[in-house]
């Protein structure tokens, strides 16, 4: 008798039952999907924009506080997805004093909010608040993705207020043919989009674009769901990611219009033609130590769009760090917890004089 075959079948079916049984139990037990739980206080606000200060029990090892500027696209919570996958918590535990700007959720009242308002207004106000609060002249800036581009612009305009600059998966050279997003943005009729949406570009519109970059990603993710659900940790991680992806803020139309036109379409920052508030932004003005971090398999911000940062600034102390994985893996990957935060901490500690 093909008893072995039967036993194998038996093993298979028992394994599947185990998987489903665990999955059912796990999903039944989910009451709440919580993200961004690192303790924090709101220390400053301006309309919808808030400045958070993350709490720490002891004195920070690195005396100069770090201001994190995330992108306007998507939410900063990716940096604090869950306690064991939280770049924020890890940075705090590595001895840093972390502040973070929450850009909020723009609505129609914000349609005329400009890049000047964000960079010369919000970022500058937050920097000044921290300087004043700590009685210091300079802060450390950590810019993420588009927030990194903002940080570069800010550092070029206000070099006296920045001690060290870290850019994480930050695009600067937008003349890129490899990234689909960069290609599509070049062809985009951004005036029609912004005006058509009545000056406020919905988050779902942006998400559709991101989805199309890897059109079967969601299918693959859902296909693996029974196995994902069988593991409580993986299930919660999956649900948190779903919530983060869904929580996509709209974009203030005028800012979006200008960023697409002058960055993606005209690549003005790299060419030295970009102006903000009547001032020309020259990245060559950046002389502070700079750490540029990019993700090797980043399909949203390909490495080639990031790497030129170190060539464009005139800093003598500059470092380029490659990180394995994709755009999001930088924040939630296990390697991020083990390697990235300690590397940033060490780099800052060495320059914290």
């Amino acid at each position: 008798m093909s008893n072995n075959q039967s036993t194998n079948l038996g093993d298979q079916i028992v394994e599947r039952v185990n998987t489903v049984s665990d999955a059912l139990r796990n999903i039944s037990g989910v009451k709440d999907v919580d993200i961004a739980t690192a303790p924090r206080k709101t220390v400053w606000e301006d309309g919808k924009v808030k400045l958070y200060h993350f709490e720490r029990e002891d004195k920070s090892r690195i005396s100069t506080p770090v201001l994190v500027s995330y992108a306007l696209v998507n939410r900063w919570e990716m940096m604090d997805l869950q306690p064991n996958r939280s770049l924020i918590r890890k940075l705090v535990s590595e001895g840093m004093d972390i502040y973070l700007i929450d850009w909020g959720y723009p609505t129609r009242i914000d349609r005329y909010k400009t890049l000047e308002d964000y960079i010369l207004g919000n970022i500058n106000d937050c920097v000044d608040f921290i300087r004043s609060e700590h009685n210091i002249d300079q802060v450390n800036l950590l810019g993420v993705c588009q927030g990194g581009t903002f940080s570069l612009i800010y550092s070029a305009l206000f070099p006296e207020k920045v001690k060290n600059l870290i850019t994480l998966v930050t695009p600067v050279d937008f003349d890129n043919k490899e990234g689909l997003l960069f290609k599509w943005a070049k062809d985009m009729d951004v005036d029609a989009i912004v005006d058509g949406f009545g000056g406020i570009v919905p988050g779902d519109f942006l998400n559709t674009g991101f989805d199309l970059l890897k059109p079967m990603n969601k299918t693959r993710k859902y296909l693996a769901l029974p196995e994902t659900m069988a593991d409580q940790g993986k299930l919660m991680n999956f649900l948190r990611m779903e919530h983060w992806v869904a929580d996509s803020p709209a974009q203030a139309g005028e800012t979006y219009r200008r960023f697409i036109k002058e960055m993606y379409q005209q690549n003005k920052l790299v060419k030295g033609e970009f102006e903000l508030g009547g001032r020309k932004v020259n990245l060559n003005n950046i002389k502070v130590p700079i750490l540029t971090i990019y993700a090797k398999e980043d399909h949203i911000v390909p490495p080639d769009t990031t790497k030129p940062i170190n060539e464009l600034v005139s800093s003598k102390d500059k470092e380029l760090m490659e990180f394995p994985g994709g755009h999001i893996g930088v924040f939630v990957g296990s390697r991020s917890q083990k390697v990235l935060a300690p590397a940033i901490a060490q780099w800052l500690a060495e320059r914290d004089k």
């Binding site: 059912l24 400053w44 005329y112 308002d117 000056g199 859902y222 779903e242």
Partner: protein, 461 residues
């Protein structure tokens, strides 16, 4: 409506019915034996009776634990393990018994579903458990759906529908794999282009355009109805439009190709030709509305044409993904004589499809077309908003345009306040540098552009 436990028990009941039927057939086989092989007959009956009793006890226990859902889920793996062991044990003993006694007893082969092979015999039972598993999966999916953010649910539902839809074709796909039939023409016979387009639509989130000519007819009809209604109070003014529309109808009925380019061009010409007509009309809300509605009509037709063209490109790009998938698995089947399972097949197909689509998504013409679709789509939205405002202009409500005015004013004021704040800060600094007392340095800062919250209103150092 069934709840998850009904589904759970339905699966169990199905499994039980199968084994019951099988048992009856076996008992019958022993009873109808004309020979007087009492000992064997009793042995067979004992074997069956023992197994059946065990079976009954097992299911009773399963049913009892099923009364408590939590317990049912927790005990399910253990129970299935016991059940599998029971079946294994029984199958082995039954087969041994049959080998030893069949000829002597002159037993007829019971009419099992499928010719009797121990593995088949076992697999039949397993099928029922598989059904239960699938139903359990469905319930679990619903649970996942409930915990997902609302705007992610359509993605998940689309995936589930696609996965289930393609599963319907899994049987013929297996035959194609086994027989090495993977040319596109052959595959199309089993998995039609319509079925393929349905899958792509769901995966890409497309709303299928369907029959373009028909849809344009419907759009025109809808707008004509609107204008007929409007004309009752506005007189005859649509002659130019009518003439052009008639020409368009004639042109389209001839089936000229390339359809999308021609139709799109035609639509644009029509729109441009209409402009002078509106310019010489009297001004006023009614005229503005009429013009806007015509613009909407043309924009919508342009949107339909461009969307259809875009979708066609995507369909075309992925059309060989399924034949290629079948070819890959045929090679595997030929080498190992093992059929891949559906999930692996689906995953492979999805990967193939994505690779094909990405080539198209990277193409220049696709990028431009996508941009046009997005631009026209948002223009339609904007025009619809404007039309709504015009229609409701006499009503005492604030419009989006009013809201925009507020937004503009607020932003301008905010900027002015910020500039003033910065000027004050510069003055303070200058005063400090000049060794004069700082102004209001110790007071709590509360400004229009930024304020400290109470929780951290500590004094400056």
């Amino acid at each position: 409506m069934k709840n998850q436990f009904d589904i759970f028990f339905e699966g169990q009941k199905k499994a039980m019915e199968f084994w019951n039927n099988l048992s009856s057939q076996m008992a019958e086989s022993v009873k109808t034996n004309g020979h007087d092989n009492k000992k064997e007959k009793e042995e067979a009956q004992d074997l069956f009776t023992e197994w059946f009793k065990k079976q009954q006890a097992f299911f009773e226990q399963a049913m009892q634990s099923g009364a408590n859902p939590q317990q049912a889920f927790e005990k399910a793996p253990e129970q299935v393990q016991q059940w599998m062991e029971m079946q294994n044990d029984f199958a082995k003993r039954w087969v041994d018994f049959y080998r030893e006694n069949a000829e002597k007893m002159g037993l007829k082969m019971p009419e099992f579903p499928g010719s009797y092979q121990p593995s088949t015999f076992f697999e039949e039972g397993v099928k029922n458990w598989k059904n239960w598993m699938e139903q359990g999966n469905q319930w679990a999916s619903q649970q996942v759906l409930d915990k997902m953010p609302f705007n992610m649910r359509p993605h998940y539902t689309n995936f589930m529908e696609t996965f289930d839809f393609m599963r319907r074709y899994w049987e013929p796909m297996q035959r194609l794999i086994q027989n090495g039939l993977f040319t596109k023409d052959m595959v199309d016979k089993y998995f039609t282009p319509d079925a393929y387009q349905k899958v792509v639509n769901q995966m890409m989130g497309f709303r299928p355009i369907g029959n373009v000519s028909e849809l344009i007819e419907n759009i025109n009809q809808w707008f004509e109805n609107y204008f007929s209604f409007a004309q009752q109070g506005a007189g005859e003014w649509g002659t130019v439009s009518d003439a052009w529309k008639e020409k368009m109808r004639e042109y389209m009925s001839k089936g000229n190709l390339p359809f999308f380019e021609m139709a799109s061009d035609f639509n644009n010409r029509l729109r441009d030709q209409m402009l002078p007509f509106y310019n010489i009309m009297a001004q006023g809300r009614q005229t503005e509305m009429a013009k806007l509605m015509r613009d909407l009509q043309f924009a919508y037709i342009a949107f339909v044409l461009k969307s259809a063209e875009l979708q066609s490109k995507v369909y075309e790009a992925g059309q060989f993904a399924l034949p290629d998938t079948l070819r890959d698995f045929y090679k595997q089947y030929k080498d190992k004589q093992e059929m891949v399972d559906y999930q692996e097949f689906f995953q492979h197909f999805v990967n193939k499809l994505e690779n094909s689509l990405l080539e198209t998504l990277h193409a220049d013409d696709y990028s431009k077309l996508q941009s046009e679709v997005a631009a026209i789509g948002t223009q339609i939205k904007s025009m619809t908003d404007k039309a709504t405002e015009l229609m409701g202009a006499d009503l005492p409500f604030l419009t989006k345009t009013d809201g925009d005015d507020f937004a503009k004013e607020v932003n301008a004021l905010r900027r002015k306040v910020r500039t003033l704040e910065q000027k004050i800060a510069d003055m303070e600094k200058a005063l400090l540098l000049a060794s004069k007392p700082a102004v209001a340095k110790e007071k709590e800062e509360t400004t229009a552009s930024g304020r400290r919250t109470a929780s951290t209103a500590s004094k400056k150092k």
